[in-house]
Symmetry: C2
Subunit: 454 residues, 2 copies
């Protein structure tokens, strides 16, 4: 029997784990620095919590768990003819599909204990019964950070700072794109097509690629009136930097309370960023084509692109006013951002941005040349570890050559050798695997040497 794993899932080797942990630890360190705190929720949720929260398509992509024991007892042969009612009777739990719905459930269940504004992050796997393909998995991690229970735009600003810090630490040049749901609504209302929000956004998105005439044709096909298109034209042709675009829009949308509110919000955020840029360099721009999460975002919408590589969004989020309403708790506004760890992994790989010394291997390997030699080295291993140096003792049965190969394959930078001669002289030989140099030294000396050269 040849073992395998389910399609769309992955094992992570130590080499891959090291790189993944580099990403997760960096993100986590920034969240912690801003005072955000971790929570975790169960992998299994009641289906009543999950169903209906991700649209029909999402419902189909939920992994459902068979009830335990004699799960057929509650069914009869009639149920067998209707797969939906049958499924309801044999399955009550499903695997977490994202971290947003479980977070909303958590907030509602714990609202009396939570100190608002609640700043939390969550980094856990989610599962989707999607067709697996390159870069799309059935199990993958999400890294979400949210502040909930506060309406001030300082939160949006803070999210942008955190995004910027994370990618600075990862040495990755990025552009943060911002939009606002209220501006999109304002535009739709202004041209008399409140119901065509997404079609309009998609059209704006294509103007650079397919040109004005083709966009107009597409809009006509989608049922947008000639009058609407005429009014939309100056918006399609917006020029300048974010400030200039916002000013132009302000004039155009002057009669839309909602549109103006969205513009004011973005101006406030851009203003803070501009002042803050005296300290840190942050690239942030208005992008009217951003329409992610229009079903629940109510204010700012964020998306992050890596500058030097053509991979889609690596981070995104926005302001939502009604996240917890699905569980009966109204008027809790929040802002959240999700880091796409899998995509970030791909970008760092493509741009060769993972740190070299990152294999999670030991820093030093102590060879094992026999019983006496092994015992001689126990206090040395103890000393090095007490100083925080990752110290592996070879515990296989290989000869010295094989042990050196082991160090090489695992990219361990220092090797310590203690044979009969060294024991007699109360020293060890330390070999620097990078330079090839080797030298005799005392236990203390080898610690100092590694400390200095690692």
């Amino acid at each position: 029997m040849k073992p395998s794993i389910p399609k769309g899932t992955r094992d992570f080797s130590p080499e891959i784990m090291a790189k993944r942990n580099y990403i997760f630890d960096t993100i986590k360190s920034v969240f912690n620095l801003y005072g955000y705190q971790p929570i975790e929720t169960p992998a299994m949720e009641n289906l009543s919590t999950l169903l209906g929260k991700y649209g029909d398509e999402g419902d189909k992509l939920l992994f459902k768990i068979l009830n335990s024991g004699d799960y057929l007892a509650k069914t009869d042969k009639e149920d067998f003819d209707n797969i939906n009612s049958f499924t309801n009777k044999i399955s009550e739990k499903g695997l977490r599909y994202d971290l947003t719905v479980p977070f909303a459930r958590y907030v509602v269940m714990n609202r009396n204990d939570i100190v608002f504004p609640f700043k939390r992050y969550q980094m856990q796997p989610v599962w989707r019964a999607d067709r697996p393909q390159k870069g799309r998995y059935r199990e993958f991690y999400q890294c979400d950070v949210d502040v909930i229970g506060s309406k001030t735009l300082h939160n949006e600003f803070e999210m942008i700072l955190m995004i910027n810090d994370v990618f600075n630490l990862l040495n990755l040049g990025i552009t943060i794109k911002i939009n606002n749901r209220k501006i999109l609504s304002g535009i739709a209302t202004y041209i008399g097509q409140e119901d065509k929000l997404i079609d309009i956004t998609v059209a704006i998105d294509k103007i650079d690629k397919i040109g004005y005439d083709n966009v107009v044709n597409e809009l006509l096909e989608k049922g947008i009136s000639n009058d609407g298109i005429k009014k939309l034209t100056p918006i399609l042709n917006l020029k300048g930097n974010s400030d200039e675009k916002l000013n132009t829009l302000e004039a155009i949308l002057k009669d839309s309370t909602e549109g103006i509110a969205g513009i004011e919000e973005l101006k406030f955020i851009f203003d803070l960023i501009e002042k803050h840029n005296k300290i840190s360099n942050l690239r942030c721009e208005l992008d009217l084509t951003l329409a992610r999460g229009l079903s629940y975002y109510t204010g700012a919408i964020f998306e992050v692109k890596a500058n030097d590589v053509s991979i889609g969004s690596i981070c995104g989020g926005g302001r939502y006013d009604n996240l917890t309403s699905i569980f009966g708790l109204d008027d809790i506004s929040g802002v959240g951002v999700s880091f796409g760890a899998e995509r970030i992994y791909d970008v760092l790989t493509e741009l060769n941005l993972f740190p070299q010394n990152n294999a999670e291997s030991a820093t030093v390997l102590i060879l094992n040349l026999g019983e006496k030699e092994f015992e001689y080295c126990i206090p040395l291993a103890n000393l090095l570890r007490s100083q925080g140096i990752k110290t592996e003792v070879y515990t296989g049965s290989g000869k010295m050559k094989k042990q050196m190969e082991y160090a090489n394959k695992k990219k361990i930078p220092f090797v310590i050798i203690a044979g009969e001669t060294e024991i007699e002289q109360n020293v060890v030989t330390i070999k620097n695997m990078t330079t090839g140099e080797q030298e005799n030294m005392t236990f203390e000396g080898s610690w100092e040497y590694i400390e200095k050269n690692k």
Copy 2:
């Protein structure tokens, strides 16, 4: 609709996460110090990988995942009458039941890329459809560390060192109990009852509680012969420390090659520990009643008990020779240990051993007294964070009093206040929430103050 979570599962709040992470991070730090490397495997495994590996009882406790799409298509109404064949047709995947079987699968699938001896650790949740009760959950973490592909007893010794280091770091007094499967086999053979290994072990276990006569009665009931019991008597009455017991056993089992081999192994390990105890204090003793995992352990068996609390084993493991045989790869011997994070959590709670300053809260809260004040503090927040100080800026809408309460509830030890007066003087007021003291200082000064007093 009032949301809930499936029974036997838990949400972890920031407070609980801080404590759990304290345990996980400590364990991980020791694994890393010894050169062990992390891997991760998918939550879902093919049922063909899982079924039959945990006995009939285990098979029943697997959480099975419903196939995606029209999962009934492959069935017909006849299948409906036989739940097992029906289940096989509608479910091909299950949730990970432990980390051992997925590890064996991983080793077999990746045997050409792995550098042996392979020292790996794995910390991930597992799922069991067990009846939930106090301390028993349907989702819980396991923390496993294994070295595979090496027969030397140096590995057993290394496992003991790691166990000792972990609990030293957690400030928890423990006793490591050791047994050896070969000794148990030797005893069973010696008394002519090879098939009664577990009954004999259970009897030895009870001698202190119920006395010799009752043990004999129980053994008779289990079908052990009078002759066998007579031969077992000196073993039941073993006295002395581990060394003395091993010596007595050696004389008794002198004709059992296997028994003697087990005794030699333990003597070797105890000898290393004794020498090593000159450096570190380690409490380790022979315990012939240990019989955990007899279905797969082939040599040493470990179990760890906390000294000052009556909670069961908090860590255990042993030597196995045939772990990967279930997937067709023979002759790969290994040693592994599993830390019971949930039980360790309970012990640390009972003994009040969690560090005080462990809430994963920010170190300092900067109050937010208005737009001008907020902007004034941006460079300060930036400075503190760049120095690694966890700095939260209040971004709610509360008045000053509410903001101070927020700091209190979240146990944030320092609060920084900057109002109009402070801005004029280019300072901030820093309040030490522990002592109640407050003082004006510059941005740099507040950093130095927190650095010194945190």
